[in-house]
């Protein structure tokens, strides 16, 4: 962590939560894991997206908790859900056919193409340096949701050239890979970190910094009062800054830098590869789709 992440007035988690919440459009359906994604989804539902449909892998469809659930299977989710279905059903009837617009995923490692590792880090699969929890619902969330939002703290351990284990596919090894694999969801649309937001380059599908959170950049224009979230106007100012590529591995150096961090923060350089934001990719609901 660099000093830049220590923004007074809110924690990095709060900033990520707010940034994630703002990504959720009203009336869409969102596959929610516990922790930060659940907080973000409930924040969105409490503010700009009252008709956001929260789907928990425990089988709760349309949960409307009036306090933050403490686990993915919190009783308040079942109590307030439109329907509680079995775990096989939530995966087979709701996630797999592409009925869910947005899926949130975390990552222990994330690579330049948005592939995610939550399984093992270092060493051999059978004798790893660190054994992580594993896949859970993530591979199929990454495959089938209309789009994926990854929430992850940014550091050299996390942002790797290649993940040690592909638990969940982002854009594979680049453009066209999702299509070749037959993955029907749109893939990672956003990566929200404690520093800013990355989006896939529309051509190369490499993650590219498109926004910084307020208080993060050297050009920051002052900090909001302690204890408040960034106001819409302040947020808008951040959004309208020129988008900035944050990749420090230039394209020409890519091959020679395997296993090196492809995305380093705080290296003192200005990165300004212009990046076009991909067109809005909200996938139509299954009911709107042809067979």
């Amino acid at each position: 962590m660099t000093d830049e992440t220590s923004t007074p007035g809110w924690t990095a988690d709060e900033m990520m939560t707010v940034a994630a919440a703002r990504q959720l459009r009203d009336g869409t359906a969102c596959f929610v894991g516990i922790g930060l994604p659940s907080t973000a989804a409930n924040l969105a539902r409490a503010t700009h997206a009252p008709n956001l449909v929260l789907i928990y892998e425990s089988g709760c469809l349309g949960a409307k908790p009036d306090r933050l659930p403490l686990s993915i299977g919190d009783g308040i989710l079942a109590d307030t859900a439109d329907a509680v279905v079995s775990v096989p059903e939530v995966f087979n009837y709701w996630l797999q056919p592409g009925r869910v617009d947005v899926g949130f995923l975390g990552a222990a490692q994330l690579d330049r193409h948005g592939n995610i590792n939550t399984t093992v880090v270092g060493g051999d699969y059978h004798a790893p340096t660190v054994r992580l929890p594993g896949a859970g619902g993530a591979p199929e969330i990454a495959a089938s949701c209309g789009e994926v939002v990854v929430i992850v703290r940014q550091n050299r351990r996390t942002f790797t050239e290649r993940v040690d284990f592909v638990t969940s596919v982002g854009y594979g090894s680049g453009p066209g890979d999702r299509e070749r694999l037959g993955l029907r969801g749109g893939g990672p649309r956003l990566v929200i970190t404690d520093l800013g937001v990355l989006e896939p380059d529309p051509v190369t599908r490499e993650l590219t910094l498109t926004r910084l959170h307020p208080g993060v950049t050297r050009e920051q224009r002052g900090r909001p009062p302690a204890g408040t979230s960034p106001s819409p106007s302040r947020w808008a100012r951040v959004r309208h800054r020129r988008r900035t590529s944050w990749r420090c591995c230039a394209r020409s150096r890519r091959r020679s830098t395997r296993r090196r961090s492809w995305c380093r923060k705080g290296d003192g350089r200005d990165h300004d590869h212009p990046a076009h934001r991909p067109p809005a990719q909200r996938r139509p609901r299954a009911a709107e789709l042809p067979a």
Partner: protein, 272 residues
């Protein structure tokens, strides 16, 4: 018609060394008391099957009951790592632990296939991930109509499945509600089943959202009030989130884990 048994008898009769054992319950209704009884009875060489081997399997693994784990997500939900699970995988303590690793969707469908009397299930899953490289239990399958390639996983058929539910009647009909996870499928997929319940009643009163498992599809039922603690039973108890948080410290070191095991499992003894 299920037999009504004590927890100790149920585990002694139905869970044997070397068995494939599934304890299911998705955050809610986790059969902790039955897991502790399996530890007390000193079962060994178990293949433990569970979508979310959280604290309950951390305890069984640390206690040396398991030879192999078939799972899709092993963590302490909302808290962090499972230290006994990691110690077993990273340092083979108290013994080596083989892993067979899936996604939730894959595990859920493996139970569905088992419950359905089919040898395999088909899903859109695992594609492009490294999971199929580490098990032969994830294979491609082609649609005989469209030629599209999907993924097949083999049925799970545990020797015994153990679940916890709110209520049973004296015929052994079991009623659960709230988040019911994959329990119906896990019970129907198994050769034998043991259900612990909060209470046995004369008559099951219908409840919205209930899942009822007929007694004739279950081997044995044991009344174990609080048998899901620190998990919970909706309508009977709330989740003991403090326990889950405290487990991180308890389980982090072998000594503190062993002390906990002695006091809270071995000395505590089976419920009456």
């Amino acid at each position: 018609m299920a037999k009504l048994v004590s927890l100790a008898d149920g585990v002694a009769d139905l869970v044997h060394d070397g068995d494939v054992v599934a304890l299911e319950g998705f955050t809610h209704l986790i059969p902790f008391a039955a897991g502790h009884e399996i530890i007390r009875q000193g079962r060994r060489d178990l293949t433990l099957v569970r979508m979310t081997p959280d604290v309950i399997y951390d305890q069984l693994i640390g206690a040396g009951c398991a030879r192999r784990l078939v799972f899709s997500w092993g963590g302490n939900p909302g808290v962090g790592s499972l230290h006994r699970f990691r110690d077993a995988v990273q340092h083979a303590w108290p013994g080596p632990l083989e892993l067979e690793e899936h996604s939730h969707a894959g595990m859920a469908n493996r139970y569905v296939a088992g419950a359905s009397g089919l040898p395999f299930a088909v899903l859109r899953g695992y594609t492009g991930t490294d999971l199929p490289r580490h098990t032969t239990n994830i294979r491609p399958i082609s649609c005989p109509f469209t030629g599209e390639v999907l993924t097949a996983v083999p049925a799970l058929r545990p020797d015994v499945t153990v679940v916890h539910a709110q209520r049973a009647d004296r015929m052994g009909n079991v009623q659960m509600w709230g988040i019911t996870g994959v329990q119906k499928e896990a019970v129907l997929a198994a050769h034998r089943s043991l259900v612990t319940v909060e209470e046995i009643v004369d008559q099951l009163e219908a409840v919205p959202g209930q899942v009822v498992l007929p007694g004739w599809a279950i081997t044995a039922v044991a009344e174990v009030p609080g048998g899901a603690h620190p998990s919970y039973a909706q309508g009977y108890s709330v989740r003991d989130n403090d326990f889950y948080r405290s487990w991180d410290a308890v389980s982090r070191h072998r000594d503190t884990f062993r002390a906990w095991l002695d006091q809270q499992v071995h000395q505590a003894g089976a419920p009456a």
